[in-house]
């Protein structure tokens, strides 16, 4: 059963590429993502939202968080068209999607110690 939230094959590749640096990568991603979420909350203009979403989308896709990346793409493309309510909803969706995948990355950190 393929995980719709996190692409496991991407994680396998990352683990293989990063080797001992895998943990650092995971930690960096998690920390980056936290600050991006704050930025989304604080953004006032559609452009600012769009830019943050674009950036977040990039690292999310690199880390295999496919659903998160899709949501960010949606926000990036439509930030100027949506109503404030719709935008708020989208930002909330992004928050909860991240909350959903965060444990996966946390457990990956421990995963490396086992090898």
């Amino acid at each position: 059963m393929t995980d719709p939230h996190v692409d496991r094959e991407v994680l396998d590749t990352l683990r293989e590429v990063m080797e001992d640096g895998y943990t650092e990568l995971l930690e960096t991603f998690l920390a980056d993502s936290q600050s991006r979420l704050h930025e989304l909350q604080d953004s006032t203009s559609a452009k600012a939202l769009s830019d943050v979403a674009h950036s977040f989308k990039g690292s999310a896709s690199n880390m295999g968080a496919v659903r998160l990346a899709e949501l960010c793409q949606d926000l990036e493309s439509n930030a100027k068209d949506k109503s404030p309510e719709a935008l708020a909803q989208l930002v909330a969706d992004i928050h909860s999607e991240f909350a959903e995948v965060r444990p996966v990355y946390e457990s990956e950190k421990h995963h490396t110690h086992i090898h």
Binding site: V17, M18, L25, T28, D32, D51, S55, G58, N62
Partner: protein, 567 residues
């Protein structure tokens, strides 16, 4: 597949996680990694570290990827520093912006290692290609400068050789407009020991250095032989033989040679392959064309070479005009040639003979022509008096062992008279006597006059009164050539005697011929006439030498020269 050389790669990416990931991927591929978190940092790092390749995120704070790319490309100058944009931009407009900013390629997120490695390899190949091109260009530029410099040095040598004559004499006007650094047209002028002037306008095949190289040995022959007193025919034979020997088969030299004699009021002409020259007679305004009757120099073997010249009478102030084909071949925007007809029109319209060059130049300008070759024009006139000669030849002996008491006799017979000119040799012999060197001009003139009288009027039996007018002149020289060709018997004897006398010495020259003689008394009685074309040059001999006498019914002439030792 060849292994990729390790490069220094700059990664400019604001997302820390992406930056970390990409650095690791690139490092694993064997390269050295530099990182920057925004566009400004990227530019600074580029300035300091000079990476070989840049991976640039498009959207970054402080300075975005587009601006950073523009600045980095400007800093790189002629060298190629490939920039690969990292982007999850999908619209083609955004991708086009990457290229406009100077990006060479894109890499999409999520990063694919295999694609990244392939792109780095391809970009590096381009980078090295550009570096090679610049290197080659610089090498070529250096070689070009070197060659130009060599040409300049060669030109300095060439100028010394080709311009050691008397082109600055008051009776010569010339204009030379070389097409390239080296002038393929050769213009030479020199005085003979007798005060006559030899002039040559030559045009080598091609132009530039290859043409000039052939000119140097030619100029040496011209000056050397003219200074020794050789005539046009011998000089031409020698020049032709030399060029035939040294030039490649498809190279030759068109040339017109003139020998102007102030004393005998005539000009001797040989034209091999040059455009027509023109003899402008002031009195009648007539312009006599001097067409090419021979092949250029350097083509025919010595046996086949034709050294026959044409002789024309020339009055004081008459001019000979020569030009190279660069003038005629000047062509305009419609590929029309300036041509001989236009030149004739300029002649016809010319009112002031002294302004002929200016008129021709103006006509060329009006024609709006483009020169395609070296352009040369020269005008030589016959002036009233023979001017002082050029620099006296330098002798290297001290004079301690010069011969002061001797005599020599020579007899030149039949067939030898046809081809051999003994004058240069006799003069050289006399110049062994130091005291005579100061008078070499007079000596040569007298010897030449006596010898030519003995040969032409004595042995060949030509009547000098034929030379009274232009038609007679031509006829005289035709007959001279014909009789010389058919000559079997006859002789000219030359006796030289040198004796010391007081502080200096005395030279006696006696010339005898096998002819019928002439009425000496009658000729001596005639008044001296400067304009007369004939007259056996008796006046000249009496003027330049001392105690000139004729005996044996005019078949024997004797004249003396004296010198004092300078204190």
């Amino acid at each position: 597949m060849q292994a990729q050389e390790p490069l220094t790669i700059l990664i400019a990416e604001d997302s820390a996680a992406d930056r970390l990931l990409l650095s690791t991927i690139v490092r694993r591929q064997g390269h050295q990694v530099l990182t920057a978190a925004n566009g400004a940092e990227a530019v600074e790092t580029f300035k300091e570290q000079q990476p070989d390749l840049v991976l640039m995120d498009a959207l970054m704070p402080v300075m975005d990827g587009f601006e950073a790319a523009r600045q980095i490309k400007a800093l790189a100058g002629e060298a190629l520093v490939p920039i690969i944009f990292l982007t999850s931009l999908t619209e083609s407009e955004a991708l086009a912006r990457c290229l406009e900013a100077g990006g060479d390629d894109f890499l999409a997120k999520p990063y694919n290692q295999v694609i990244l490695a392939a792109k780095i390899k391809a970009m590096d190949r381009l980078r090295r290609l550009q570096a090679t091109v610049l290197q080659q260009r610089d090498l070529i530029a250096r070689h070009h400068d070197y060659l130009l410099n060599e040409q300049r040095v060669a030109k300095a040598v060439f100028d010394k050789v080709a311009h050691s004559g008397c082109l600055s004499a008051p009776n010569i006007r010339y204009l030379q407009s070389p097409y390239a650094l080296f002038n393929g047209d050769l213009l030479l002028a020199a005085y003979t020991p007798a005060g006559d002037m030899h002039v040559m306008l030559g045009d080598f095949t091609g132009h530039g250095l290859p043409a000039a190289v052939g000119a140097m040995p030619l100029a040496e022959v011209f000056y050397g032989m003219t200074a020794k007193g050789y005539g046009l025919a011998e000089t031409l034979r020698e020049m032709n033989a030399k060029l035939k020997r040294i030039l490649p088969v498809d190279m030759f030299c068109c040339a017109t040679l003139l020998s102007l004699s102030f004393q005998s009021r005539s000009v001797e002409v040989w034209n091999g392959g040059m455009p027509d020259g023109y003899l402008h007679r002031m009195a009648s305004g007539e312009r006599v064309p001097l067409p090419a009757r021979h092949l250029p120099l350097g083509i025919l073997s010595a046996q086949a070479f034709d050294d026959r010249t044409d002789v024309y009478p020339m009055a004081v102030d008459d001019r000979v005009f020569l030009l190279s084909d660069g003038v005629i071949d000047t062509c305009d925007a419609h590929d029309q040639l300036f041509g001989v007809e236009r030149l004739q029109q300029v002649f016809a319209a010319n009112r002031e003979p002294d302004r002929l060059f200016e008129d021709i130049e103006q006509a060329l300008r009006d024609f709006r022509g483009q020169a395609r070759d070296d352009v040369s024009m020269v005008e030589v006139s016959l002036l009233e008096s023979a001017q002082a000669h050029g620099a006296a030849p330098v002798y290297s002996d001290s004079g301690q062992s010069c011969p002061l008491d001797w005599s020599a006799s020579f007899e030149f017979r039949g067939a030898t008279l046809r081809r051999f000119n003994p004058l240069p040799f006799l003069l050289q012999l006399l110049l062994e006597v130091h005291g005579l060197r100061a008078q070499s001009g007079a000596l040569y003139s007298v010897l030449a006059e006596l010898y030519s009288n003995a040969l032409e009027h004595g042995v060949l039996g030509l009547d000098s009164s034929l030379k009274r007018d232009a038609t007679g002149f031509a006829r005289y020289y035709e007959m001279r050539a014909a009789r010389l060709e058919a000559l079997q018997d006859g002789f000219v004897r030359v006796h030289l005697q040198v004796q010391p006398q007081g502080e200096g010495g005395r030279l006696v020259i006696r010339v005898e011929d096998s002819g019928k003689g002439f009425d000496v008394a009658r000729v001596m009685e005639r008044p001296v006439d400067n304009v007369r074309l004939s007259g056996r040059g008796i006046g000249l001999v009496r003027q330049l030498g001392r105690n000139a006498t004729w005996s044996d019914q005019g078949r024997s002439a004797s004249v003396e020269f004296f010198w004092e030792i300078e204190a």
